[in-house]
Symmetry: C2
Subunit: 167 residues, 2 copies
């Protein structure tokens, strides 16, 4: 396949994949274009290649910077900003995990805690509900603790350990 065509396919692929996981299509596509650009890109470059508006580009680049997946870059003698994606995919994965944990898992854990014990005259039903919540809570906490450790480990160590485990 030809390089330009392959890049376009990748932008598409990454966009679809993102939207299946609750990340908006444009944001994923901006990420894709930066991942596959050998040089940092300006807002104009991104607008042009993805055919999206200035506002849209600005907002999604900014969000990617919040996620720590994209850096601002200054180019000598250029007034406008350029953007460059983190290309170490292990880093990318860790940062996505970190961010989703912070934004979604932690609030979830907080709320589950509030539901752990309830009041009711119907003892059996009370117990049943509490069991379900406990069971969700245990799972979420375990996944959380794996993700904490994952973020400390380096790629080789992490996958090495996991793969060895199952041999």
């Amino acid at each position: 396949m030809e390089l330009e065509q392959a890049k376009n396919q990748f932008i598409n692929l990454w966009g679809n994949f993102g939207s299946q996981w609750g990340i908006n299509r444009s944001m994923a596509q901006v990420h894709a274009i930066l991942l596959t650009s050998p040089t940092p890109l300006s807002t104009e470059d991104i607008m042009e290649k993805l055919q999206i508006s200035r506002g849209n580009t600005n907002m999604n680049v900014r969000e990617l910077i919040n996620w720590n997946l994209v850096y601002k870059e200054t180019v000598l003698g250029e007034r406008r900003e350029f953007f460059r994606a983190e290309k170490d995919m292990w880093e990318v994965a860790k940062r996505i995990v970190r961010e989703r944990k912070r934004r979604e898992i932690e609030p979830l854990m907080q709320h589950l805690n509030d539901l752990k014990t309830v009041e009711s005259d119907n003892l059996a039903e009370k117990q049943d509900f509490e069991n379900t919540i406990q069971s969700i809570d245990r799972l979420v906490n375990k996944l959380d603790s794996i993700s904490n450790n994952l973020m400390k480990a380096d790629e080789h160590a992490f996958f090495g350990m996991i793969v060895n485990l199952f041999k």
Copy 2:
């Protein structure tokens, strides 16, 4: 907190959580109501408690059955169908992983493969693109292989191994 109130909060919580991860709100809410019901529920029950239409209820219950998270149940002397959720959350987690893998990760891996080698006169840029794709491909494959093993292991074994690893 009072039981009924807690159930409502949970339905809400699960619905929000689902929609952040690309699962539609109603589907997650139907799942929540079944998870927290001590007895199987009919379509009518679900419609009434969630205040949603028959069509919506039917479609989402069916989707949950496709995901293997909900079972059809027959009640003696009743003509209509009842539904019951799988309550072992380790099982639930495994089934969600299995399904998302099948629907999303496998197609992704397929497409990445097609992008692994491209043609271009610009050797440096070709190399750069191929490196990025390779790096994504390696990560996805490793995550895939962990998830395969996870689905074979039982909960205790899995978490036991992971937790010990990081001690």
